[in-house]
Each structure stands twice: as C-alpha cells, then as structure tokens.
Amino acid sequence: MIAGLGGLAASAISFSMTLYEAAHPPQVPVMQAGQQIDTGRWFVTLRTARTGTVPPTGVPQSQPVKLVMVDMDVVNRSATPNNVLYRVVTISAPAQKLDMPTAYLDRDKYLAGYFNPNMPERLTMVWEWPADVPVPDKITVTVTGQIYKRRDNLYGASGWYDREPVARVDLPVEKAP
C-alpha cells in the first residue's frame, strides 16, 4: 500500500518536473565564433560555416547533395580517445531531422577517426542538408555538455554522460560552389 503510494508520488513528481522544464526551457548562453567552449569532455571552438556540394576532401561526390559544413577546433580533455562529436555539436534544419554528420580531419583532408587526449585538431563537420529546404544565411550551432560519472546509477561503471546544452553559437553561412 505504502509502496504503491510512493510510486504514485514519484511518477507525479517526475511528470510535473517534466512539465515545468518544458514550460521553462533553460537559458543557454550565447557564445561567439572563435570563443572556446568547455563542454566537460571537450574544448570546442567553432570557426566558420559554409554550404556547398564539395566535401572537405576536395573530391566532388558523384551525386552531389547540399552540404552544410562547420569548421571547428577541438581538444579531447578526457583520458581516452573518442570520436563521438556528433552528439556534442549539433545543428538543426527547420522541420526536418538531419542525418548524423561526418567529421573530416583538416590535417589529412580525410575522414576523422579517434581524437586522442590533449591533441588539438581542426576538423570540419558535414551535414547533408535536405534538398527541398533552402540553407539559411545563419545557422545556430548547439554545443552539448557532458559530465563524468565515476559510478553510474546502473552498474557503478565510470563514463561520460550527456547533459544540457552549454552554448549556442550563431554562424553566418558562406555560400561556396
């Protein structure tokens, strides 16, 4: 009986918290291009954005698609290599869900793999943009924070967990052929 009431109370609290959060979205700090953003696991510095059909490899695709490319500098501050940047840096298209972006390492002009700890790298993240939606003059890039838990709530295992966005950056979109 008490356990049932407790469960009911818990779900009521969690439901009202969700409602409250939906009604009062947290204020995300607006940052500028070129400013270093601390996400917890990464330092991210967004540089420029552009649109075109040629990916950073310089080799045009056989079936060109509209691409939105964002240049940035990153440093992995954790103790292990990682490449899951697509959850950290996101953009959104109006009324569409974008596919997962591809990251290119500027050093190699090729697909980026792991980013080693404490090694600053410049990279370009590339999103395929829907063909029927025009690319706006300005895109908003959202940078999500991550926290390290020494023991997670399920296994007691250590790991990095996604948190709220830590910054929003407006970048003008250059038009490239």
Partner: protein, 197 residues
C-alpha cells in the same frame, strides 16, 4: 512503538552499510578489467592465449607512408610513436585488435586510424598458433606522453576478464627523429621502417 523504532534503525543501518560499500568497493571497471601480464622490452611476455615481445620503439615528428607507389605525409600536433615486435598465438588462431599506449600519467592513446590499411598494423593481422609474426603498432600522442609509456595489447577491447599484455617501454622521449617512413614491401617482411638503424 518499539517495533517502528527498530525497523527505522535497521533501515538506517542498511543504508549506512550500502553507502559505505558503494564508496569503498573497487570500481566496476576495475572488477571487470582484463587480466594483465606485464613485462619489459626485448622479452617474450606470455599471456594465456598469446605471447608478445617488443624490440623497437621509435619517435618521430612526421610519419610518411609508401604503399603501392603512393606516398603520403602525416603531420601531427604531437609526435608519432612506431613500435615493432613479434606476436604469436598459443592454442588457437586469433586477432589482436586492441593496442594502446598508456602514458605515465594514465592517459590512453589508441592505434592510429589515419594511416592506410595497406600498411599492415597489428590489429589487421591474424595470428596462428606456432607461427610467430612481426607486428607494427603506430600511435600519435603529445610529446609529454612518450616518456615512461606502456604498450597494452589485447585480443579485443570488448571482452572483460580477457588477457592483456603490458610491456613497459624504456623510451626517454628525448630522442625524436624528424621523420620516419613506413614502406610497404612487395616481398620479404611486409614493411620496412626507414631510415634503418
């Protein structure tokens, strides 16, 4: 009344014990960590499923690759570390897909995924029991991670409680060559590290 007090006390005691255990017991990652077999350079280190020895560690600022007439230069914001040795499976054919450089301060660097697959790195090969095979491992890391580093090799990163060989390298991190070239050979050993020394 006494019964309520007693059960409250028992609950508090249980919570206290659990809290204490949560904060004193080893981490989950520690409990499920691989079983390490350690050794030094130029020695054959045996794990239960495979054996490994390392004989050369070289550090360079730039890595060049030459494969099938194509050459490419790989720069880095740190240095390249090229490790060579020999690996052998003991009882069954296996792959050694996980190679890591554990720096003195505990930071991990994995085998680079930048160089082309035509250069045979340890992770791409298959090891047959009784047939020792030369291995090549390439890492990219900041300069200060080189000194006192340990090479950690395992069959895979995903199997808890599997074997892992840890070989402490004796590099000082001071002897940095300007450039190293890895050439893929058409015959003989699968690769050559240049300049030879």
């Amino acid at each position: 009344m006494m019964r309520v007090v007693r059960s409250v006390l028992a609950l508090m005691f249980a919570a206290f014990v659990l809290y204490g255990m949560q904060h004193t017991r080893p981490l989950y990652s520690r409990i499920t960590s691989p079983i390490a077999y350690s050794g030094g350079m130029n020695k054959r280190v045996e794990a239960s499923a495979f054996a490994l020895s390392l004989d050369s560690v070289r550090v360079a600022r730039v890595l060049n690759t030459e494969t099938f007439g194509k050459s490419k230069t790989y720069t880095s914001s740190g240095v390249w570390v090229v490790v060579e040795g020999e690996a052998e499976a003991k009882f069954e054919t296996l792959g050694l897909t996980s190679g890591e450089w554990l720096s003195g301060s505990g930071v991990r660097y994995v085998l680079t995924d930048r160089v082309p697959a035509t250069i045979e790195m340890m992770s791409g090969d298959v090891y047959q029991p009784g047939l020792p095979r030369r291995v090549l491992l390439m890492f990219e890391m900041p300069e200060d991670a080189v000194a006192g580093g340990t090479v950690v090799v395992a069959r895979t990163k995903l199997l808890p409680l599997d074997d892992e060989i840890r070989i402490a390298t004796n590099v000082s991190g001071k002897d940095i060559e300007p450039a190293i070239t890895i050439r893929r050979n058409d015959e003989g050993p699968p690769w050559t590290v240049l300049p030879q020394r």
